[in-house]
């Protein structure tokens, strides 16, 4: 924030004032509705930020030397927010898991019942934790691989704080019962519109920074970040088209209905996995893996193959969520076919990552951070294989509607998304805060094992429960009647629900350890002697051999 010019401070104040007025308008229009509460939150949120700006409003102008360094201040805030959402979202997850084993843990209040906290968990971890991690690392990666400073100073703040306002409105809304019920897109219409505005700012900032690059080529990591930004915008807009009951009412009805809505929702839902939880995080992998392993990416051609394979194939795969339903068979079959083909680019990515480690296995042994990244690539390979397998119709007839799906999602979310994020953060944090090292490498080691063991317990519990559930539902007696009632299958789940909550708890403790370690790194570890290479090139100069893959 200290680097903002007077003009930028003025502009930021204007934006925040407008938002405060908007907040008042929402509070007034929605005074009989949860939307009014959100209006109040928008008002307070922008008011607090305005206060922060005003405290240094008349501070001196930043000097021009700032242009010879990268703009990392927004990334630092992004890192802190990522960790906040990680702990929050995972805590809600453990709580929701525990409620399935002990239903009275909702304490009989409306806001804490399973159906309301479940989207708070998914949004908290996907958008809060995952989204902030993607935005923060994308700002870091695009600057380094382009050897250019972020194109402007105000919009990174707008993106970060605007995005977190979206997350806040979304998650607080679920507790109040504000939801569209679209899985992974539960936020209501006004939050969705706000996210579009934030996303446009993000897109413009990213592309303008790319346009300033001092490298002739756009580095692979940025392909993925670009695909993430562009495709998520398309998915978000199409899936969330809706007509609100009134401008003062949080409730809206989606324009899509029935079978078309089902297809749109899973086209969105599956590609939120593809372009939010895969593409963006592959961007992380392609930058932090070679940096940490100190090895170039194994194969440029495999990178190209997997990138275009993922971008093209994934968008066909959503209908595998609707096997044997009222969706026409031809769409189901297309979805299955492309899901199976997806294994090729997916394993090309995972293989490319693991082969990059060839020659650096001694570092994997010694460095828990690199092991996080290695384990992430491994789980990426595992869960993409599992995904293709489960998309096959006969397999899906067993796995669908069961905990197996939940286990699969968490193999990806815990094993891949969270582990690549933590591996990247342990590399990123000392770098942007210019510290010699992390506060404690022993704690990184502890975190690694908590994460791995937690994930394995979780995934094994859900594999077991899912397959048992699926088999019990279809078990016939010799005289051709169903053997088990639904409640029989539910009773069989309880031990696994307890095991799952325990696995999730270990993972949550790991995230808390990580937050403590990062906090102590910033607070206590001495500043490193600055590496002179970590700076943008002056305009008009092309650096030849700076990006990690070359």
């Amino acid at each position: 924030m200290g680097q903002l010019t007077t003009g930028e401070r003025e502009f930021a104040s204007v934006i925040l004032l407008v938002l405060m007025i908007l907040g008042i308008a929402m509070a007034a229009a929605g005074r009989f509705d949860p939307m009014g509460v959100h209006g109040g939150m928008v008002f307070l949120y922008s008011g607090a930020l305005l206060w922060w700006i005003l405290t240094s409003f008349f501070g001196k102008e930043p000097d021009a030397s700032r242009f010879s360094s990268y703009y990392d201040d927004p990334i630092k805030v992004g890192v802190a927010l990522t960790l906040f959402w990680a702990v929050f979202g995972m805590f809600i997850g453990v709580w929701a898991a525990a409620q399935l084993a002990w239903p009275s843990l909702n304490f009989d209040t409306a806001w804490s019942s399973f159906g309301r906290i479940r989207p708070a968990h998914t949004t908290g971890v996907i958008f809060g934790f995952g989204g902030n991690a993607l935005i923060a690392t994308s700002f870091h990666v695009v600057q380094r691989t382009s050897r250019a400073r972020l194109a402007d100073q105000l919009s990174p703040w707008f993106v970060i704080f605007g995005y977190n306002l979206f997350c806040l409105i979304a998650v607080s809304g679920y507790f109040m019962g504000v939801t569209q019920s679209k899985e992974y897109a539960e936020a209501e219409w006004y939050a969705d519109i706000w996210l579009v505005i934030v996303w446009i700012a993000y897109f413009v900032l990213f592309v303008r920074t790319l346009a300033r690059r001092k490298e002739p080529h756009i580095y692979v990591a940025n392909w993925y970040y670009l695909a993430f930004i562009l495709v998520v915008a398309i998915l978000h807009i199409v899936n969330n088209l809706a007509v609100p009951v009134s401008l003062g009412n949080a409730k809206s009805y989606t324009v899509w209905s029935g079978v078309q809505d089902a297809m749109v929702q899973w086209w969105y839902g599956h590609n939120a996995v593809a372009f939010f939880l895969t593409a963006g995080f592959l961007g992380m992998l392609y930058y932090y893996l070679p940096i940490r392993a100190q090895r170039p990416i194994f194969s440029y051609r495999l990178s190209i193959l997997s990138f275009w394979g993922i971008t093209f194939f994934y968008m066909w795969a959503g209908s595998h969520h609707l096997h044997y339903t009222a969706l026409p068979l031809w769409v189901q079959n297309l979805g299955m076919t492309f899901s199976v083909m997806l294994l090729v680019p997916s394993w090309a990515s995972a293989g490319n990552a693991l082969l990059t480690l060839n020659g650096a296995w001694h570092r994997v042994r010694d460095d828990a951070t690199l092991r996080f990244i290695m384990m992430a690539a491994f789980f990426y390979g595992l869960s993409t294989f599992e995904g293709s397998f489960m998309a096959i119709r006969p397999v899906n007839s067993l796995s669908h509607y069961t905990d197996w799906t939940v286990g699969h999602v968490h193999a990806g979310a815990l094993g891949w998304v969270a582990m690549i994020t933590f591996g990247s953060f342990y590399t990123l944090v000392p770098s942007i805060w210019k510290r010699e090292r992390m506060y404690s490498s022993a704690l990184v080691e502890v975190h690694f094992w908590l994460a791995v063991i937690g994930t394995l317990i979780y995934v094994f519990a859900m594999w077991n429960s899912g397959i048992i559930q699926g088999l019990m539902w279809r078990t016939y007696s010799p005289d051709n009647t169903l053997v088990y009632s639904f409640v029989d299958s539910l009773l069989a789940m309880y031990p696994y629900y307890i095991a799952r909550a325990f696995g999730g708890l270990l993972f949550l403790i790991g995230a808390i350890v990580a937050s403590f370690n990062i906090w102590m790194t910033v607070r206590t570890v001495p500043v490193a002697v600055q590496a002179s290479s970590d700076a943008p090139l002056p305009s008009g100069i092309y650096g030849a051999t700076t990006s990690p893959a070359e």
């Binding site: 409620q99 239903p103 909702n106 009989d108 409306a110 019942s113 159906g115 479940r118 679920y174 019962g177 939801t179 569209q180 019920s181 679209k182 790319l210 080529h217 756009i218 392909w223 670009l226 695909a227 562009l230 495709v231 398309i234 007509v243 009951v245 009134s246 009412n249 409730k251 009805y253 989606t254 899509w256 209905s257 029935g258 079978v259 078309q260 809505d261 297809m263 929702q265 372009f275 190209i304 275009w308 093209f312 194939f313 968008m315 959503g318 044997y324 339903t325 009222a326 026409p328 769409v331 297309l334 007839s397 669908h400 509607y401 069961t402 799906t405 539902w473 016939y476 409640v487 539910l490």
Partner: protein
């Protein structure tokens, strides 16, 4: 050759973005657009009804409480599902569902054929404390629904918004939405006759939560649960398309 081609593409941000948008759009266009144009996608069901204001309000509560997170409303074309739950679900049954609530997870059983399966009283007891009627259940209790008055004054606005997205509500239905919600949950009231008049004789008029003269959220949710799967009879009829006589001129 392809390396050189890609090498060029990597040098232009705009070209690269266009390529991403093109590659990423094909799947969605091919799979989604025809669902609106191919007539067989959604079956014809002349007897298809639409939700009454009370049922629509109940559906909103179902959405609000996230019931779809644990209950599907989509019976697949599999023998064990048909034998456990009833006839497999047809596309037409969710034709007016904005959004659809097919669900993706069965922590609890499928609800596509729940309408009419249990009494109102059972539903009320179950929602107040599921373990009173199903001791093994891990479902949360929803006892506050019985004591929370349903907001009926803006139901007309909800129907109008639903009409804007394609549900055939008439002006009259929108104008009398609040009265119809009251009438449907108060069988002996003056307002109850209008409900069946506007929404069909099949409509269930009942004091759903067992208490007259009030309209609670419990009334609405039970009214909705009782109509799930009963808007049309199509799933119980033979829906196979009649064999077409080949056209000799074609």
């Amino acid at each position: 050759m392809s390396d050189r081609l890609h090498g060029k593409l990597e040098r232009t941000a705009v070209g690269f973005m266009l390529a991403i948008v093109v590659a990423g759009s094909v799947g969605g266009i091919v799979e989604i657009a025809p669902l609106f144009t191919i007539h067989e996608t959604v079956e014809d069901a002349p007897d298809m009804r639409i939700y009454t204001p009370l049922e629509a309000a109940g559906r909103d509560i179902y959405v609000r409480e996230g019931c779809y997170a644990c209950h599907s409303q989509m019976i697949r074309t599999l023998r064990d599902e048909v034998e456990r739950y009833g006839p497999y679900s047809l596309a037409v049954e969710s034709k007016y569902d904005h959004p659809m609530l097919w669900g993706s997870k069965r922590t609890g059983p499928d609800l596509a054929r729940i309408g009419g399966k249990y009494s109102d009283l059972w539903h009320v007891a179950h929602l107040i404390n599921p373990r009173d009627v199903v001791p093994e259940s891990n479902m949360p209790s929803y006892r506050w629904l019985a004591t929370t008055q349903l907001e009926i004054s803006d139901l007309g606005g909800h129907l109008a918004a639903l009409r804007a997205v394609g549900v055939p509500y008439t002006e009259e239905m929108i104008a009398s939405a609040a009265a119809d919600a009251y009438g449907q949950s108060n069988p002996d009231s003056d307002q109850s006759a209008g409900v069946t008049e506007r929404y069909g004789d099949e409509t269930q008029v009942s004091a759903f939560d067992g208490v007259k003269n009030t309209v609670t959220e419990m009334d609405a949710l039970v009214a909705y649960l009782q109509v799930v799967g009963r808007l049309t009879n199509a799933a119980y009829e033979n829906t196979a398309a009649p064999e077409q006589v080949p056209d000799p001129n074609n």
